[in-house]
């Protein structure tokens, strides 16, 4: 009797805790002269700071039902003691178990909300 309860329970628990597949965001900063701070995508924090030429990889481990994620990228552009808050005009799309590469460069269209 006990085995009849425990085994199914074990199977149910096992299925509940099984890992989802990771998705990745590859963030590149190619904006010259400045650093970017507090970069985020769809309320996911990608990095606190990135200087020109640097790259960050963010792993997102969420259920497939939460994808695709579609969002602008927002960040602070900083030079010395001055900063401006910007958002990309483009929306980026992250699919489940895929890698999204976001490159912020001098030609990336942005606006100050």
């Amino acid at each position: 009797m006990k085995k009849a309860i425990i085994l199914p329970l074990f199977v149910v628990l096992l299925s509940c805790v099984s890992c989802v597949e990771d998705s990745y965001i590859n963030l590149n900063n190619k904006i010259g002269l400045v650093k970017i701070e507090n970069v985020s995508f769809d309320n996911i924090s990608l990095t606190s700071e990135l200087i020109p030429g640097e790259t960050r990889i963010k792993t997102i481990c969420e259920a497939e039902s939460k994808f695709p994620k579609r969002s602008q990228v927002s960040f602070y552009m900083v030079k010395g003691t001055s900063k401006v808050y910007l958002k990309t005009r483009q929306n980026y799309i992250l699919d489940y178990s895929k890698t999204l590469t976001i490159t912020l460069s001098d030609t990336t269209e942005v606006y100050n909300p």
């Binding site: 010259g32 481990c61 900063k83 401006v84 942005v110």
Partner: protein, 189 residues
Amino acid sequence: MKNISFIIIALLFVACGKQDYSPYTYSNEGGIYSSIEKIKFREILFTLKPYTMVGNKKKYVVSDSIKNIVVKINDKPWAIVNSFPVASSQLLIEPTPTWNLTEQNFAYAVVAPFQSAKTTLTTAGEYAALLSNFFILENGTYFCRIESFEIRQKDGKMQIIKPYLVTVVDVKDNVRNAYLGELEVQIPN
């Protein structure tokens, strides 16, 4: 029984239910702001005195104003401005085929505040350039160049003058502007 319990507990600890909590909240402030409270250098002031030589005498050109004065600091764009309009009714005018001239001391006042390259910024590179140029004038000495300006002839046509006039501007601590003095420019008859 004990082994199975242990496995279940172990699996619970390694479950891939990690949430990615974003710790950042962003203010809704727009535009550039600086954490430094002191007064920033923003303006250059000078007077322009275009003149021409008549014989051996220096005579100053009289017009309504001077337009599109291109000002650069250390060869970077600073501003394109017009002079203040002038009233010339009290002057003794000596007309020539091209210009109205006067021997009296006559100058055009110019205030050149810093201007960003574009009124509407659309790319990350433009914002980066604005941030880079906006506060580049820390305390120190810089070369200021009057690259060109336009002045109206007697017949109403605008003539472009390229004096490539260079002078020095000193930026001091907690001071909003600097006066460059009177800048004389010889132009063709």
